[in-house]
Symmetry: C2
Subunit: 249 residues, 2 copies
Amino acid sequence: MKAKMDLSFDTKECWNCPIKHQAVCSRCEPDELKRLDEIKYYRNYEAGQPVIWAGDHMEFVASVVTGIASLSQTMEDGRTQMVGLLLPSDFIGRPGRDSAPFDVVAVSDLTICCFRKSPFEDLMTSTPHIGTRLLEMTLDELDSAREWMLVLGRKTAREKIASLLAIISRRDAALKKQTPKDGMSFDLPLTREAMADYLGLTLETVSRQISALKKAGIIELDGKRRIVVPSLERLMNETGDDVDGGLIA
Amino acid sequence: MKAKMDLSFDTKECWNCPIKHQAVCSRCEPDELKRLDEIKYYRNYEAGQPVIWAGDHMEFVASVVTGIASLSQTMEDGRTQMVGLLLPSDFIGRPGRDSAPFDVVAVSDLTICCFRKSPFEDLMTSTPHIGTRLLEMTLDELDSAREWMLVLGRKTAREKIASLLAIISRRDAALKKQTPKDGMSFDLPLTREAMADYLGLTLETVSRQISALKKAGIIELDGKRRIVVPSLERLMNETGDDVDGGLIA
DNA sequence: ATTCCGATTTGATCCTGATCAATGTCGCGC
DNA sequence: GCGCGACATTGATCAGGATCAAATCGGAAT
């Protein structure tokens, strides 16, 4: 049994919500927010707990408030592919569909803000701001999913690991509202096995490639889970991606 | 040089459009359709021609009317991953973003119905039906993209080929408005190389696996491009997917 | 018919990542 | 301290696909 959940925001009121500027409700006017508030409730999960199984009937849609969840598919013989990482403000479920297409599992301790599905759908038709924001978020997720397809389909194991580390470092910097910079460090929120499931590799290969990147001086390890990146440029060079882009001024 | 384009619908009027029931405009009322009609124009491409390069400024969004296009990414060293197949009624581009994230290439001869971007965006804010339909389509595409991630990340070469054939046979049957059945046949709209790009394989492996499926009696070839499927169940068994689902009554 | 060229098939070999197996590390409860 | 279990690392071997290379097919132009 794990320690008690410790919500990182004091009350459960929208004005105090840590994701109010990014979530599906971020475009809402005060009166719309009030109507959402009336149908919302929170749920907490411990790391490792399932939130939804694929095929389950879904009686709610939700936003991730704190913590991380994974979206994944499993074949009968046990092969598993993670198809998305759900971070704070990401949306779970979809209006207009009643069974879940993928498994959702809490990767870390997790708090989600749920809306009962049918009132939420009613609200969507009556208040355009929700639909607009959801469309925007869905288009972004579609782009991310497609970018990930390149990683899965064409990158080598080493490039896959470097790509994952680059993404996590970027998002971690964004979370702390600073630009990523040399010498930065962050915690890996995933086990080696979860990384393997996300990258389409085995956990042994993940471990070996992390060791290889360490030996090459691209990253340093502080414990098993904390990563230090001495040079972001060198890390980016390992991802196989175009780096030219544009320097951060 | 190829033969002249031969549009498969006589006029270019919405009431006569082959995708009017599926496209982004399918929910529109007559007056909304009229406003869309005023900003639309058609473009034709021959097989192999680029429609948009990644990074290009996009001055329009569009619906595929006839033909097939691919959405793909290429790394500097030439590795290519197709991230989507755009079939009739699929949407190209996205409101609210001005440069294309991926290359779009005509796989077969192609006709698209374009809307200038900024009038289209205006229309979206004033008529909810377009946004609603676009959200629905985008959510469906996101699910498909995620399903494809399982194919790319975890399936064997043989399973990948079988999955692709299964998908094309399903969509082909849907196009002809019949249920897929044993003995059905269809044309492969893709070269071996395009299939390889879609599946994250080399063209040699694609060719070998197709030969292997033929030798195993799972499929028959009629020329290089026409596929006959004696038993859909046997094909499905090769995809690695759960087949239990539910019989078609 | 002949040539040509792109698409495809097939063969031989190599190499990356999977698999099978053992060992190491760390935190925790007793 | 000790033993246990979850997670991670490392080693040895194997195999599925990639790569390099050559042959074949089939349609279009001459």
